[in-house]
Symmetry: C2
Subunit: 374 residues, 2 copies
């Protein structure tokens, strides 16, 4: 039996029961909203998590990169939407998946790229990406390009025009329930509006896909949408807890680290986690009164050690842990394990190649590989 104490630190740890609860809750939520759940695997990047998230392999996932698409296709997922703006040089790779009987959907906001897709000969479904206010990518809802792109694709051989997709890239600008509800409605309305414009132009729009977890959690309804593609709900994190998207006890991901130094005169501990394992993310700094430094430090069992114990300063492979009150050094001898809740689960997870899985105890019940790369 492997225990947390047997792991080399730092190590990325999943609490399985929290993970499963998060996944089940989102399934219920999608059911209540009347849309299909297409979990976005860009965060989890693990087959073991996709298997719980989608229930059946055939039901479909979203990914961000060709490498992720290949990884999940190899694991048997046969309905994959690649949610980053497609470019011509990446078409060959994703077309190879389609040749292997994987249903591949790609997205674009560019008539030039649409022409390249139409001319490529690969077997794709294509969605038009819509900018619903995040100004990351996508055509504006009123722009002529949506219709232009759909028309380019609609008649192309081996290509299916699939519909429209958006993602509220600005959803984390929200801080209150009212703000999240407004962003959710903005996301839904933008993409439904483009779908209606396409229908009026005689182009059917079977897929109307919304993206952000905030929308999935806070939308009052998703009328007109057909699917939702949340990703960060899988783990949750301090930022999401800080803005009310989850509770702190819903955070399924933590970084196991060990105390490697005592500095009593500075009232700080040194731990063996740093930029390379925790990430530079300071997302909670933007939450008024909710700054958690580089992460909240708990004990091996995810219980508090001292009030306000945080990662205060980050180096490459070290971090300082500090608190407002005097630290209990004597109960934290060198070697003591701590677990750090991350500001942003995605940014912490991306530093790692596997997850060690526990379920309410210190026993490590599984190690799940995590697929990085592009």
């Amino acid at each position: 039996m492997t225990r947390l104490a047997d792991l080399a630190t730092p190590a990325l740890v999943i609490e399985r029961s929290r993970l499963v609860a998060n996944l089940e809750q989102m399934k219920s939520r999608a059911l209540a909203l009347g849309v299909r759940l297409r979990p976005h695997m860009k965060v989890a990047k693990a087959v073991a998590i996709a298997e719980i998230a989608v229930e059946e392999k055939g039901r479909g996932i979203a990914v961000q990169t060709p490498a992720e698409a290949e990884f999940f296709a190899q694991a048997g997922y046969a309905d994959i939407t690649v949610c980053a703006a497609m470019i011509p040089s990446k078409l060959d790779r994703v077309a190879r998946l389609a040749d292997d009987d994987v249903g591949v959907t790609v997205i674009t906001d560019s008539p030039d790229v649409a022409r390249a897709i139409a001319a490529h000969g690969g077997h794709f479904a294509v969605l038009v990406e819509v900018d619903c206010g995040g100004h990351r990518a996508g055509v504006l809802p009123e722009s002529p390009e949506a219709i232009e792109i759909a028309k380019i694709l609609d008649g192309a051989p081996r290509v299916t025009f699939g519909g429209v997709l958006t993602n509220a890239a600005h959803c984390y600008q929200g801080r209150t329930r009212a703000e999240f509800e407004a962003i959710a409605e903005q996301e839904r309305a933008a993409v439904v509006h483009v779908a209606e414009r396409l229908s009026e132009a005689g182009i059917p729009c079977p897929v109307v896909s919304v993206g952000s977890t905030a929308t999935a959690v806070f939308a009052k309804h998703l009328n007109g949408a057909t699917e939702t593609r949340p990703g960060l709900y899988v783990f949750n994190d301090l930022f999401r807890a800080g803005v009310g998207l989850c509770g702190r006890d819903d955070i399924a991901l933590s970084l196991l680290s060990r105390v490697i130094g005592h500095y009593r005169s500075d009232n700080r501990l040194l731990i063996d986690a740093g930029v390379t394992s925790l990430s530079l993310d300071r997302g909670t700094e933007r939450i008024e009164g909710g700054d958690q430094g580089f992460g909240v430090v708990l004990d091996e069992h995810l219980q508090p050690i001292a009030p306000g114990l945080k990662v205060a300063q980050l180096h490459t492979e070290h971090a300082w842990v500090g608190a407002d009150e005097p630290l209990p050094f004597d109960s934290l001898p060198i070697g003591t394990m701590v677990r750090i809740l991350p500001n942003h689960a995605n940014n912490t997870a991306t530093m790692h190649r596997h997850y060690d899985v526990v379920d309410g105890t210190s026993e490590v019940i599984a190690r799940w590989p995590r697929q990085g790369g592009w």
Copy 2:
């Protein structure tokens, strides 16, 4: 023949001639300073780079983690200093290397850990870590612990007390030549002072090791020191160029990315690099008048595209590229390759598992694996 255009993007690219020049320059510098060069491989994490950096495998390297020590030991490096505060639970792993005839040096600033090392039975050399002003780790130069630790280790079987080591963790607080020179002298003086205290106590101190690249570059002399352990000089980066530690043409590392979207009304491009490949580092923000966003954007040949072209905003797998003046969209069609100089080479490199190597042309002459993990 593989060319940059054949690579999946984003991809981490080394300019070999710049790398070699950086490595050779530091060898000359160490020679001029009269100290041994022990390159710190925590940044490069690649055997191919160590081979150029040290000339001979026997000459010794520094690493930060047990995983790195194992990786380089397996590649034939037989003199390895593990430069993170050792803790008892990691002793077994590094002791196994010592059993395989690798000379392993570990460091500590704790009498408790020194006792654990003395009792372990592994074959180690041990250095006392000294805090020279960075307040990351180490005993203070005047503290009694340095002597205490040395005495614990001096008589222990199979253990050699090796001397003292420090690293100016605060060296990047410097901005001017005068400040760097002062920090370099602070680093040298602190560790030499402890070595002298140890000698006075009758404990010989064969190794007196200084750490930071800034010290290696700007020290007026290193009298009393025996070795230097720079790491970031290998690649250089925008932060180092911004504070005068190198020129921009000395930066050997860049991230290859492709244009994936045009947003003319916002005067911005979208590229397929993001947090997962470039890192969240905003280090140049701290340089007055020298903020480079998330990195400087150049063309495939590292030539300028437009004045002030920078990564302006970062998402997980996307980034916005912007400039002060109107962008030349027509000469940057979707699919165009760009290369991004990073703010902090270490933080960008840590997002990757290999380097693609070029040498002044677009031909990829090698792919070098990069060892992550702990």
